[in-house]
Symmetry: C2
Subunit: 410 residues, 2 copies
């Protein structure tokens, strides 16, 4: 079998956006545009939904300079979706569109749900004998994908969190009257992001306690810890995952938040405010709850240059992997140590092992009391937040890519 497959490529973005997902997009798009056997490069509007709806952009018609600005443009520039393929007729429809545009390369950028989509498309096309190479590009701030050392998007979110915690520490320690500050960080099931708050501790600006979903949360223990630290230091700074659960498995955030309380449903958060309030009741201290919300996943201005470059490499590698004849794989990162320094290597794993699974923080990287991370955790994250990005600023404001998004014609 010759490795040479001539046809068009389609690229889609799926799931929650990150600061660097468009750097992966640029890796795929630029490499594909520069590949002679790839005849056209299409972008799917809102991921697989754009394929189903025949909404494809002809990315060959974009200005090269604007495309390059994707390297520092946050969020999913082509639009994203949360769409799970349920029926065979959807796969038939995808195949129909692929036939119509002669699409022979499918690159899909997302987290574990998106890898499931990717895997289903690959399996179906193989089964019906339609030659098409399907490669997944990892993406998630949550860093919970199996098969890869770490995920593009995580390093930038971790850098944002560590920097912001450092700054909030300074702010929260300003008054002689003391303060208790609770910072709520994303991560429904994995504590990678919340644990990254500990990096601020390298300069003595870290949280006193870190609560992650990997360890069951006990309100009494939390309150007595905060009370003790406040009594000692006249201050207490806590980082907490949105996904912490009581020992019975219910989300702490959800437990007391009803639709009728005027604050909306659990998605709106409220965990930081809730814990701050409880800490205030216990201690009488001035309290504040802060939710980092979307900012931690879209703050491209603070993206890690390491993360941006690795995200680009993942996209580039996806095209190279497909060109080499592979299909049904996800691009993965390995961690190499070269002359004592961190270096990111690239490999790939079957989509089936990456899809639908979650990688949590190992229990041994969390301290015994479950209230902070260990040095191993810090050593793991630190290389990923290195490097200040080279974003374009015009008039003091970020200059993001402005694509024309011209509809593709068959």
């Amino acid at each position: 079998m010759s490795n040479k497959l001539i046809g068009a490529a389609v690229f889609g973005q799926s799931g929650g956006p990150t600061s660097v997902i468009n750097a992966s997009a640029y890796g795929v798009i630029r490499t594909a545009l520069d590949t002679p056997e790839i005849t056209h490069v299409y972008g799917a509007a809102h991921g697989i939904v754009g394929v189903l709806d025949d909404e494809l952009y002809d990315l060959g018609k974009e200005d090269a300079h604007e495309l390059k600005l994707l390297m520092n443009t946050p969020s999913s520039e082509l639009g994203s979706c949360r769409y799970k393929i349920k029926e065979e007729k959807e796969l038939q429809r995808i195949h129909e569109i692929f036939e119509q545009y002669n699409i022979r390369y499918f690159f899909y950028n997302g987290g574990n749900d998106s890898m499931d989509t990717c895997s289903k498309v690959n399996d179906y096309l193989q089964r019906i004998g339609y030659e098409c190479r399907v490669i997944g590009v990892p993406k998630t701030i949550d860093n919970d994908l199996v098969g890869t050392d770490h995920c593009p998007g995580f390093g930038s979110a971790a850098k944002y969190i560590a920097t912001t915690i450092s700054e909030v520490y300074k702010d929260a320690h300003v008054y002689n009257t003391g303060a208790i500050t609770i910072v709520e960080i994303m991560g429904r099931h994995a504590g990678w992001l919340t644990g990254s708050a500990a990096l601020a501790g390298i300069n003595g600006l870290g949280p006193d306690y870190i609560y992650m979903p990997e360890v069951p949360f006990e309100m009494d223990s939390f309150l007595s810890n905060v009370k003790k630290t406040f009594a000692e230091k006249n201050n207490c700074l806590v980082a907490v995952s949105e996904g912490i659960c009581y020992p019975d498995g219910t989300f702490v955030a959800k437990a007391q938040i009803s639709e009728t309380d005027g604050f909306g449903h659990a998605q709106l958060g409220g965990l930081a405010a809730k814990l701050a309030h409880a800490a205030g009741q216990k201690t009488g201290a001035k309290v504040r709850g802060i939710e980092l919300s979307l900012l931690q996943r879209c703050a491209a201005h603070l993206a890690s240059q390491t993360d941006i470059e690795e995200a680009f490499l993942a996209g580039q590698a996806a095209v190279q992997c497909a060109l080499s004849g592979q299909s049904g794989k996800m691009i993965c990162f390995t961690r190499e140590i070269e002359n004592g320094s961190y270096k990111c290597g690239i490999t790939y794993e079957p989509l089936s092992i990456c899809a639908n699974m979650e990688k949590n923080v190992p229990r041994e990287w969390i301290n015994e009391s479950g209230t902070n991370v260990t040095q191993e955790f810090i050593d793991y994250v630190l290389p990923l937040i290195q490097g200040e990005n080279k974003r374009k600023v015009v008039n003091g404001l970020p200059r993001f890519a402005q694509l024309k998004k011209i509809k593709a014609t068959r």
Copy 2:
């Protein structure tokens, strides 16, 4: 009368911190240390409280390199306070301390309440005939000080807000399912910060609506605006001041938030969540409330270089103003246009006209419907957010000043 007054100087920080208040500190401290007639430079721990408690640091004993890092260190490095002088015996105590350390220069960095403190100290010392020159250095992210074109701290907060709104816009527009996003911004009485969200609109990434405290808030009108825009665009982004009030003068944030609802008191916010919830009920859309909270006043990593330099100049000018024989003045900025470009000039005004007053956004800089700002507003703010700062980053993390804070001896 000779202008030459030989003695020590004390510097204090007061009120809410900003990203650049320490740049003003460095302006005062560096200039004072370099002035022969100033024999010692002391820092008051927690502003005037440190004077009353005889807690002064000898800033001459600090490492020059660490002091310079104050230029990019957020929050009030010497500690701050919210302390209002109420009795003459407090002024007597201040005089006693000043006598003990031979303090002849008092520099106080803060907002309108702090200028009131400054003014009282000046009046008292003049009345009893103790020769001391008292100069206020302006500071507030709220930009509401009277007598100055703008305030150090505002430009950096405005840059943070405009950048963050640009990024949130990208994130909020990613799904085909649409979204309504409400961003809550600081400003109890003045809408300068919230209005700055409009700067993101220069690149087409601005909010659809901006609600500021200067215009009474009508819930019905807000909901019908959001509903209309969501129907047209499948999206709606709103920036709102924490301080918006209903026509009867009650805070919208406070109106339905009681101590007993489990979310804490009004200081914890909840306005964004409340408005998002109401918008969701009205439209059925997916909604999200985001509160920028402390981040907007401590995000030194995104501080405006223009603001940093002006903050330094304000501190430097305070010392120069005192050396020239002035007292009872606050340093003020003027706006010069030089060859068509913005340039910041420095002047001073009597403390009495700056203290305790607030400058709101002029009604003519807000559009007729009270839901956005005019071009005049944007032209006013834009020069203040220019320039990327030159902060020190070590290991991917901010490297802030680390002062020794050695207690002063008489």
